[in-house]
């Protein structure tokens, strides 16, 4: 077996073992439970949630913001690292592209879940006001889905052609499908030129579209007069937070795939060190924006903002607030500052901390503000002043997260998670093989 064949064997998708099957089944169970809860929500209305006139956005929207933030990983790694000529990115970009697509697709679904009348989805387009950030959001999310798909698909073409050839004898049905999806890729000069040009265009597009997506997401909040949201810092704050959430998710998934698929030769300690440094930089930037977001209001906030800040720092939301700040941001920075902290296992643990911190961070961005309404209603029930998701909300949200993980799992099952062609080119295996063949 040549080195090239050995490389294909290592990187070609494989059938799940026992653990993979159990994992997939668990995800399916979560999705079914969420689906049952959602059907009940559609039947009975959003009264089954704990959202009321005050907390009219709850866990669904915070989960949506988390998905949107995580989808930024495509822009953060593929585009930024490509345009800055960071060649170490090769083994992780495909995983980043997959996470990006899965996240943005689920962000779209989550918005629909939050709608009291999903049958009126088309009204978002029919009665759209171009002045409304919600309309911009409705435009940018499908745009990002298309772009994320193209970002994943174009670089996949050579690998799909390789898989077609690889499975020709052993799995003819798979081979047929890979052949169709590879669009008759032969690796001709013309095809390579078109692909290379297209990828370059996508890599450039991904950055402004990604920033637009994060900024519009931030403007959904900051264009209101609401305390905690009414901030000019919000766009940059969300974008920097998206870098952190996206990289945290990438590191976590990369570590698990490396372990399960035994890819230690391809995703090395060096890659984790680089990813960790990148995450450290983004965490530091995010800390800076957090200081801007929370420190300035301490000086000049009106009374209501002060009440809001107190609820975050000392009050009802203090546990979640400090969890997201310390576990999700400060501790990761302290760990990643040390070289030993940038080894795969510590980085993986940091990745999980960052993801959890990022999820709860979105929760405390969305919820506490809503409990301090711009125009308070007189004589509302005491329960309206507090919000914690209902069982329905947890089940549905759990199902969306499970669905995102299932999309990633299925991509890992059927696609090469590390670009085969590119690795072969970088290692010079293609030339060696051709010489051997001749």
């Amino acid at each position: 077996m040549t080195k090239y064949e050995s490389l294909i064997n290592d990187l070609a998708p494989r059938k799940f073992g026992k653990r993979g099957t159990i994992w997939t089944l668990i995800l399916v169970v979560f999705i079914i439970l969420g689906l049952i809860a959602y059907i009940d929500q559609v039947n009975k209305g959003q009264v089954v949630t704990n959202m009321r006139d005050y907390a009219l956005w709850g866990i669904y929207i915070s989960n949506f913001v988390f998905f949107v933030a995580t989808s930024f990983v495509g822009s953060a790694t593929v585009a930024v690292l490509r345009l800055t000529n960071n060649s170490w990115r090769t083994p992780v970009v495909r995983i980043a592209e997959i996470i990006s697509l899965a996240s943005i697709v689920m962000a779209g679904f989550t918005i629909m879940i939050d709608m009291g009348r999903p049958d009126r989805l088309l009204n978002l387009f029919i009665y759209a006001r171009l002045q409304s950030p919600i309309t911009w959001d409705v435009i940018i999310i499908p745009t990002s889905i298309i772009l994320s798909f193209l970002l994943l698909y174009f670089p996949l073409l050579p690998d799909l052609a390789i898989l077609k050839k690889h499975h020709l004898k052993t799995k003819p049905t798979f081979s047929k499908w890979y052949g169709k999806l590879s669009l008759n890729w032969t690796g001709s000069k013309v095809q390579k030129a078109i692909q290379s040009k297209s990828i370059k265009i996508i890599a450039i597009m991904v950055i402004p579209v990604g920033i637009l997506l994060q900024t519009i997401d931030a403007w959904l909040f900051s264009t209101t007069y609401r305390i905690g949201w009414d901030s000019t810092n919000m766009g940059a704050y969300f974008t920097s937070g998206a870098f952190v959430a996206g990289l945290g998710a990438l590191i976590t998934v990369v570590y698990i795939i490396r372990k399960v698929r035994r890819l230690e030769h391809y995703i090395t300690d060096y890659h984790f060190d680089k990813l960790a440094q990148y995450l450290l930089l983004t965490c530091l930037v995010y800390v800076y924006f957090n200081i801007n977001e929370y420190l300035i209001p301490i000086f000049n906030a009106p009374v209501e903002e002060d009440i809001h800040l107190n609820a975050l720092v000392y009050g009802e939301y203090a546990t979640i607030f400090w969890f997201s700040q310390i576990v999700g941001l400060i501790l990761p920075i302290l760990i990643l500052l040390f070289k030993n902290g940038r080894k795969p296992l510590p980085v993986f643990i940091v990745g999980i901390m960052v993801v959890l911190g990022s999820w709860w961070k979105r929760y405390i961005i969305v919820t506490p503000t809503l409990l301090h309404p711009f125009l308070p209603i007189e004589g509302v029930p005491e329960s309206w002043h507090h919000y914690f998701p209902s069982i329905h909300e947890w089940l549905i949200t759990g199902a969306t997260l499970a669905m995102a993980l299932l999309i990633i799992t299925l991509f890992v099952r059927f696609l090469p998670v590390i670009p085969i062609q590119r690795i072969a080119e970088e290692k010079g295996l293609l030339k060696t093989d051709k010489k051997a063949e001749s």
């Binding site: 006001r129 171009l130 193209l150 032969t186 013309v190 095809q191 078109i194 297209s198 637009l212």
Partner: protein, 290 residues
């Protein structure tokens, strides 16, 4: 020894039983207690408008005076020993109700030209029955706007309707209607003279929509006449210049007022991005054909 132990147990059982009954009686006593409703009825008459009774029901519950909502109250006219039912009303969530006295009700007065109205509540599971009476004579205010030596004045004359006699020495309030609290003008107390008249200068510069002031002359909560209000529209204010920029903020307005720059900018971005999408997808076709 045994006896002592038996008597001790008996005492303990008796004590527990006593305390239990005591507790039980307290619970039932609480359930049985009915609160006393306090009713209030104020007569208000607006010249050229409605006359009505402002009714308020409150109760003192656990040392706190609270409104009594959703109770039925009957309103009647007391004529000598007879009570003529005028109608029924129900209190709102604030324990308040406004009962309009229509002309068709044909209120009857006694020999002193005094109208006696009563309100009563028949009680329910939580509140004891209660009633309240109020008496008033019919009075009216004629108010006019006049100008003397380039100064605008408001003149108002108060008369008792039945006898058409002028009412001297009554205090009238002059105020300009405002969104929340009215703006009082003139002296703190404007007592009517022997002609039953007051003359109050309207100072310049009071802002009003298009310069119009809605001025109220109020005989407030008089023991004999209740509250009588006369309203005068006086175009002597300073027009309000609206400085609200809301309508100019097209970002908040309807979609047919979308700013041009936004239409151009967003559609341009969409066109560029989707144009590139079309190009990229066409590249996929080109790849498949090569």
């Amino acid at each position: 020894m045994k006896n002592r132990s038996t008597s001790g147990s008996a005492f303990l059982a008796w004590t527990i039983g006593f305390l239990f009954c005591l507790g039980l009686s307290n619970i039932y006593a609480q359930n049985d207690e009915k609160y006393r409703v306090r009713l209030r009825a104020d007569y208000v008459k607006i010249m050229e408008g409605d006359a009505y009774l402002n009714i308020k029901a409150t109760a003192k519950i656990e040392d706190e005076t609270l409104p009594v909502p959703n109770i039925d109250i009957a309103v009647y006219n007391e004529v000598e020993d007879e009570e003529i039912i005028l109608g029924n009303t129900k209190t709102n969530m604030k324990g308040e109700s406004r009962f309009v006295l229509n002309k068709s009700m044909d209120l009857k007065s006694d020999s002193t030209n005094t109208y006696n109205l009563g309100i009563s509540f028949n009680g329910n599971d939580s509140f004891r029955k209660a009633s309240k009476s109020t008496s008033f004579k019919n009075a009216h205010i004629v108010a006019n706007l006049i100008a003397k030596d380039s100064i605008n004045y408001l003149t108002a004359t108060l008369r008792e309707t039945a006898t058409d006699s002028l009412l001297a020495g009554e205090s009238l309030i002059i105020q300009v209607q405002r969104l929340f609290n009215p703006l009082k003008i003139g002296e703190e107390f404007n007592f009517t003279d022997e002609n039953g008249t007051i003359l109050v200068p309207i100072e310049e510069g009071i802002p009003g929509v298009d310069g119009n002031l809605i001025i109220e002359v109020v005989l407030d909560d008089s023991d004999d006449y209740g509250t009588v209000i006369s309203i005068v529209n006086a175009p002597v204010g300073t027009p309000i210049v609206e400085e609200i920029t809301f309508d100019q903020r097209k970002m908040w307005s309807a979609r047919n007022k979308t700013p041009i720059f936004l239409l151009v900018f967003i559609n341009l971005i969409i066109a560029v991005i989707y144009g590139l999408f079309i190009y990229l997808i066409s590249n996929l076709f080109r790849i498949s054909k090569n």
